[in-house]
Symmetry: C2
Subunit: 357 residues, 2 copies
Amino acid sequence: MTDPLPSGATVGILGGGQLGRMLAMASARLGYRTHIFEPGAAPAADVAHEWTQAAYDDDGALARFAAACDVITYEFENIPAPALDILSAETPLFPSRRALEVSQDRLTEKTFLSGLNLKVAPFAAVETAADLPAALAQTGVPAILKTRRFGYDGKGQARIKAEDEAAAALATLKGAPTIAEGFVDFSMEISVIAARGQDGAVAAYDPGQNLHRDGILATTTVPAPIPASLRTDAVLLASRILTDLNYVGVMGVELFVTAAGLVVNEIAPRVHNSGHWTQAGCAVDQFEQHMRAVTGWPLGDGARHANVTMENLIGGEVARAPNLAAEPGVQVHLYGKAETRPGRKMGHVNRITGPSG
Amino acid sequence: MTDPLPSGATVGILGGGQLGRMLAMASARLGYRTHIFEPGAAPAADVAHEWTQAAYDDDGALARFAAACDVITYEFENIPAPALDILSAETPLFPSRRALEVSQDRLTEKTFLSGLNLKVAPFAAVETAADLPAALAQTGVPAILKTRRFGYDGKGQARIKAEDEAAAALATLKGAPTIAEGFVDFSMEISVIAARGQDGAVAAYDPGQNLHRDGILATTTVPAPIPASLRTDAVLLASRILTDLNYVGVMGVELFVTAAGLVVNEIAPRVHNSGHWTQAGCAVDQFEQHMRAVTGWPLGDGARHANVTMENLIGGEVARAPNLAAEPGVQVHLYGKAETRPGRKMGHVNRITGPSG
């Protein structure tokens, strides 16, 4: 085993939202200082040693930030490539550039996953309206158009219920490069949170079942009600992705459960909302696991000792937190965001529903 | 239920060590900002929004700190009374002054506990060597002399193995007001971590068994191997102390298990090293529990869902952390202290040893 970064070293985190905030606390638990890079509001900075408030095209600020950090990681995948060039010039950055490049673009990602012989929804690139007929022949109808880049929580998407709606749907995406995806007939969505260390070891948590509301994750429940064989499939599949990418860190892999097995919906090269349950259910949660990986510690084994349901508090739902906190086995996580807005993730609770089983 | 402090409010913490650090992270989890007051080095400041580095006799700094906080709490009990006067003039301070006054002075504490009809070791005040014969008649020999104030981790103590050593033992304590305590014939030391909310509700965690090395806590194991009736006694006894003090927050109560039942060793009006296991074993750990209490949230119920052994990493033992982290079910907590010194608490690990049972 190589030695981890020494205590007191500085971990840089790109992004100052709730994931950065929980990563910063995990970094502190391993004895590190955290330095946040975030142009906008940064709840993560409240628990960090330092905060560089600068834009991703401020080359000087990026270089100074990188020089101040012993390792850099991130809470979101849409980091501009020129910024990455500066950041990773002298300072190790995990997960790797390749993981970012693959997951920043839905077309690249689907092509990569298909190349690993993993099942994905039928897909086709759409540049202009002229591409639509061939694309829909590939995907079938109904289909969904998604911008190749910068989509999250259902944003940058347009549904096509019938072929003659396609051009209008494409127009709502305002000329952004787009991918058409066919629908997958699935019984449930699950996700598996997996990690790979600098030594190549892989660990995965039990898959959880995800329920969405208005395109935003509402709850994740572990264990997902699936047969043991599918749990194993999910974990092996995640392991294949991590290993092929020579990945270091935690990844979220969203999967559809279908009659024909698991179909990969998308991957996120970072800690993932559907892994928040690990804070209550595991000795080593996904945030500590990610920090262990990027700073060279051995990974935790991912063992789960409790059944948990994670519930997001979206927008005004955050007002329910004190009542939820009064219920048995409920752990509260609020993100310290100054303003409550509809659709905004304000916090979550983890409810322990029993011993692991 | 009264409403808790609103998200974004500021919690002041007196003391910037590892307890303050873990309290600061719990404060952040509830959506608050943390402001640390600490004259010396402050690992807690690495995870806090602000740090006032000033002395406890800097009245201006104390007043400015108090004005910037919506509520104030503390990680250690030896806060000078004049500082408390300034801090609590305009800002609520929990746990209360009375809890501090009782626990700052071993003589006051023992007198208080006896007044509740709780068993304590035989004790007597010792001001000068002239008091020794009467005191030792009260306590028996062997006995132990302890400074009434400012002792921790075995510091400020001198053993008396025979009566003719008493004067020399007293001299090593350099004239500090002292208490003589008799020895208690105990089979084990346990502690119970209990909390009381602003609404008067009390919750307690299962007692853990404590093992010391060189006067410093080495491990805490839950559950403590004691009969259910003693667990109940421990919890009820803690509840009596909290309620009598009109206490708000978490308290650590150290107890000796004897043939005649439980004897109270000491109380600490704060989160306690022997409660660190709750980070791995409970949905709501002692740090969140304390912050819930002082900010007006409902308490968690204290339920435990795993068996845990907490092991302190003292001085150079911190170098073992990466190897320990590689073992199953081990959660790491390092304190980010710049300098490793013998006897210094550098971190701890929580090891989940099985489901609760």
